[in-house]
């Protein structure tokens, strides 16, 4: 039973005759623990797909099931709670809270949900991501790569069903990108995390277990073992 499943996903914007088909019938299934990359050019629909799967937006048609939850019929409030508890996000521009320290940023989603912090687990994540010396630093004192590592730690801390990364190395230079990419792969294996990453860059996608190519809102190619 896949942990993430989308069937006949469609997302249209606008009205006839100017209808934009951002997603035009997409079927995706991701198994637990898989690291999947979705590759496509600008405007291919990859970001839209990620937003659908993460419950950030509702599809025009089709079904999305994440770890047994059917997203299609959820209200905004239900989706917010669903996201907080089940999805970890890593964005291109890190999206850290500037007035909170590294540690506070990492545990924020846990605290927002009113849950107890699993201290040993959070310490392990901080250690794995090489952030021990930066626990009390503010985001503006960190390099781009370090900020992205904090974002990854934050995404992992809630032990989400799926981790979604939107061009996670887009704002980083090539060496830092390769470093962060390795971290994404390594943490997904170490913490048995299911991960989906979208990118326009084949260089980045190559580390995934499976690469899905998307064009004009449709999946055109899927590389399998």
């Amino acid at each position: 039973m896949p942990i993430l499943q989308a069937k006949g996903l469609k997302k249209y914007y606008g009205k006839e005759p100017n209808l934009v088909y951002a997603l035009n019938g997409v079927d995706v299934a991701v198994e637990q623990g898989e690291f999947v990359a979705v590759v496509g050019m600008s405007g291919s629909g990859k970001s839209t797909l990620l937003h659908m799967l993460g419950g950030l937006d509702q599809p025009t048609a089709g079904e999305i099931i994440v770890d047994g939850h059917n997203l299609a019929n959820m209200s905004d409030e239900q989706l917010t709670i669903f996201r907080r508890r089940n999805v970890g996000f890593v964005f291109q521009n890190y999206n850290l809270v500037p007035i909170l320290s590294v540690y506070e940023n990492i545990v924020l989603p846990i605290e927002l949900d009113g849950n107890a912090i699993d201290k040993p687990f959070v310490d392990e994540i901080i250690g794995t991501l090489g952030l021990e010396q930066k626990r009390n630093s503010m985001p503006n004192m960190l390099s781009g790569g370090q900020q992205q590592r904090v974002a990854i730690a934050r995404a992992l801390a809630t032990k989400p069903s799926i981790l979604l990364a939107d061009e996670p190395t887009g704002n980083l230079d090539s060496k830092t990108s390769q470093d962060v990419l390795g971290i994404l792969k390594m943490t997904s294996t170490k913490f048995h995390q299911t991960m989906m990453m979208i990118t326009h860059n084949e260089q980045i996608a190559q580390l995934a277990d499976r690469v899905i190519h998307i064009e004009d809102g449709k999946i055109v190619r899927e590389g399998r073992d």
Binding site: L129, G130, Q178, L181, K185, Q203, L207, A208, D225
Partner: protein, 211 residues
Amino acid sequence: MKTPLSGITMYTDLLWEGNITASEQQEFLSRMKTETEKLQWMMDCLIKISRLEVGAIELSPVPAGIKQTISDSISSVYSAASKKDISIKTADFKDISVLQDRKWTCEAMTNILENAVKYSKLNQEIDIAVDLLPLYTKISITDHGIGIPPDEWNLIFKRFYRGRNVKNVEGAGLGLYLASLILQKQGGYILVDSKVGHYTTFSMFLQNCKK
């Protein structure tokens, strides 16, 4: 496995039939030896892969300098490289201590270097460079051979996969998969970058020792 085995079978049959000259006999025996060695290599590879995959072998990464590992790997491929007049140049760098099981890391690196030699033309150069990144150390091995198209970058690390443009070159499609598995078991990974007809760079990433 089939190609070396069918070669050995054919030569055995020819030798059995007789009616061959002494020099033909030498030739066939020599070819049989080569095919047997290839089979041996494939068997060893497959056994290592199986054992690593099920955890029957555990790697023991410890802090160790990367210079020695690189030097050992180069020695392993030196004679194959010399036969093609290929020179292997390592850019200067200060030794870095990384988390590695040296024997296995060396094996992975040797596989990559062997590929670099195999897919380079005569008289070419293979360049090795080392970069220290925040969490990893990157060891890049660049050849100036045929190159690999981007749509194959994810596939070449898969078991038994052979690139479209190397169908005429000997290979089992196991070396890269084993190398990638070895790196993963040490918390590392391999990336490829290439321009068809110009160069291919395989970069091996190993974890830096915690300070």
